[in-house]
């Protein structure tokens, strides 16, 4: 092993080798007989947790679909928890308070289209190239260390991240050009996933992709496609009701969005007067019948729709107000809301919360919670729910009181 000795102090090398070999040998131990069984038990526990969570989600969606078919009033209101459960003990502040987090090495100042994903122990932040150029940024925040760590540079072909999800072992990332890559925090490495055979590039302001921990649902001019994360395979899937074809050429009055509702279900919604939506179930590869919900007449612009805690939240800016509606996708019951001034607003989603205008909405119970001000901060780029706190990060802009990247955590009073 000393074939690369590059200086003349052979005696020193020999002593170093002797000591080192002995030091290494004394630390080596054979695995105990029970070690393999211990690993199998640990893996079974992990698998069981995922199966239970998946079964609950599928059962809930099946119940929701059944309720839609039957048109019955009221549905199972058991929450579908889309949040990756924490795998480590987490710190938390007092309810209703902010806790400022380390922002040193948070590389978001020049990033574009920031996304954040919670892995169970870390928040991984990705940002795209800014319009002025530059590189993708990536960093990981470890809640236990209160420190940001660098992440290996994402692949060159990856443009602004469109969406990301935690698969249980890797971060699945999709960009607006149909590139799918994944990041493994354990090895700090990226790998490219298989590419679709069709052109599923992001188009205009129409969201054609939904990303969840089980894969990607994408829509192209020629149809619909499902990317199975575990199998690394794209396959064609049925299209939903014909009425959604009208959104192929979106206009101001016909816009379509696609969002992950749970790990194994996606909701597609369109706006053409009423909000119309339908749910795609990954396991059966079927769409539920389309439902429609009238939105408040005060809404002046085509709304945006996002999901929070298996609910659809659609909102639009009016004249100095923010108008919206929370829709229970199981029952199609809706609750409209109007908020005051939307200037200096917080615009973020972190399951199970929907956030806007410095308020959090717990979608399942439609409870609003006003956030206390955070000095010098006017908005966030993105947020994730870690099971106890909403981790938020972004840049403050130059408010006079502070400027540059920052991160903070808010502990809600209302628990999901």
């Amino acid at each position: 092993m000393t074939d690369f000795i590059d200086d003349v102090d052979t005696e020193d090398w020999e002593e170093f080798e002797r000591l080192g070999r002995r030091a290494g040998a004394e630390l080596r131990t054979a695995p105990p007989d029970s070690a393999i069984e211990g690993i199998e038990r640990a893996v079974r526990r992990r698998a069981m947790t995922r199966v239970v969570a998946g079964t609950l989600a599928v059962a809930l969606l099946a119940g929701a679909a059944f309720a839609m078919f039957r048109g019955r009033e009221g549905a199972d209101d058991t929450p579908v928890d889309q949040t990756t459960e924490p795998t480590v003990p987490l710190p938390a502040g007092a309810p209703g308070t902010w806790r400022e987090l380390a922002d040193t090495d948070l590389p978001v100042s020049t990033a574009f289209d920031l996304t954040g994903t919670w892995t169970g122990s870390k928040l991984i932040v990705l940002g795209g190239r800014s319009p002025q150029g530059g590189s993708m940024v990536a960093a990981a925040y470890d809640v236990r260390d209160d420190a940001w760590q660098p992440v290996a540079p994402p692949p060159e072909e990856l443009q602004s991240p469109f969406g990301s999800a935690w698969t249980g072992s890797e971060l699945l990332v999709l960009d607006g050009r149909g590139h799918v890559v994944s990041y493994d925090p354990d090895t700090d490495s990226w790998r490219a996933r298989s590419a679709p055979d069709v052109d599923v590039r992001f188009a205009g302001d129409v969201s054609r992709f939904g990303v969840s921990e089980s894969g990607v649902l994408a829509r192209s001019a020629g149809g619909w496609w499902w990317y199975d994360e575990a199998a690394d395979v794209w396959s064609a899937v049925p299209s939903p009701d014909a009425q959604f074809d009208r959104a192929n050429s979106p206009t101001a009055a016909a816009v379509v969005w696609l969002e992950a509702l749970t790990p194994d279900a996606f909701v597609q919604s369109t706006y053409d007067g009423p909000i119309a939506f339908t749910v795609f179930d990954v396991s059966s590869k079927t769409w539920t019948p389309t439902r429609e919900v009238e939105i408040p007449p005060v809404t002046r612009m085509p709304p945006r729709c996002q999901t929070a805690d298996a609910h659809l939240v659609c909102f639009a800016e009016g004249s100095g107000t923010l108008d919206g509606v929370v829709i229970d996708v199981g029952t199609a019951e809706s609750m409209s809301f109007t908020l005051g001034s939307h200037s200096n607003s917080l615009s973020t989603v972190g399951t199970p919360w929907f956030g806007h205008a410095w308020r959090l909405l717990l979608a399942r119970t439609a409870e609003w919670e006003a956030l206390p001000p955070l000095k010098g901060v006017t908005g966030f780029s993105a947020a994730v729910w870690d099971g106890q706190e909403m981790l938020m990060f972004g840049t403050t802009g130059d408010t006079g009181e502070r400027s540059g990247p920052f991160a903070a955590a808010y502990t809600p009073v209302v628990k999901p």
Binding site: L19, T29, V43, D142, D186, T187
Partner: protein, 173 residues
């Protein structure tokens, strides 16, 4: 040390068997973790965590040329996180006793050796641990750490000078 023990599952695609990799890599992994963290009991936990991660991804890892390199790469990252966490804990819990955590009966000479190694900068420290504790060659270490082989050689040479000088109580460089 990263000997190949492939089993022909089919003619075109030789794959590794988890248990054989586990048994062959375990001693080196535990030694590397103990060397880097100074905690023999904690080292076993880190290795178990690493191998659970490997088991979960075994479909992908089993076709790698050297699954042991993947395991060592993950383990070294886990050791770094453990050390960072320990540093954080110490900052906030100044009353923590500062004792040498190697728990098994190893010789004073070995304790002194690894104690000095742990004072080295992160990369040379890891290189020495992989070289002696896992018994890797410079090529294998370069593969694990994703650095050029020349960097490994350079780190090892620098580490040798510092360790031997410290052991001898030299005051020069």
């Amino acid at each position: 040390m990263l000997g190949h023990q492939t089993v022909e599952m089919d003619a075109d695609r030789p794959v590794w068997v988890f248990e054989s990799v586990y048994r062959s890599e375990y001693p080196g992994l535990v030694a590397v973790a103990a060397a880097l963290t100074g905690d023999r009991e904690g080292a076993r936990d880190l290795v178990q965590d690493t191998m659970v991660k490997a088991f979960v991804r075994w479909n992908r890892i089993s076709v790698m040329e050297r699954p042991g390199a993947w395991c060592h790469h993950v383990l070294v990252n886990a050791c770094r996180s453990r050390l960072r966490r320990r540093a954080t804990e110490r900052r906030f819990m100044a009353t923590l006793p500062r004792h040498e955590a190697v728990t098994l009966p190893v010789s004073d000479e070995v304790i002194a050796f690894w104690g000095i190694v742990r004072t080295l900068p992160a990369r040379p420290r890891t290189v020495v641990a992989l070289y002696f504790a896992a018994g890797m060659t410079s090529v294998e270490i370069a593969d694990v750490l994703k650095v050029p082989e020349g960097t490994v050689r350079s780190d090892l040479a620098a580490a040798r000078r510092l360790v031997m000088h410290s052991l001898r109580g030299d005051s020069d460089d």
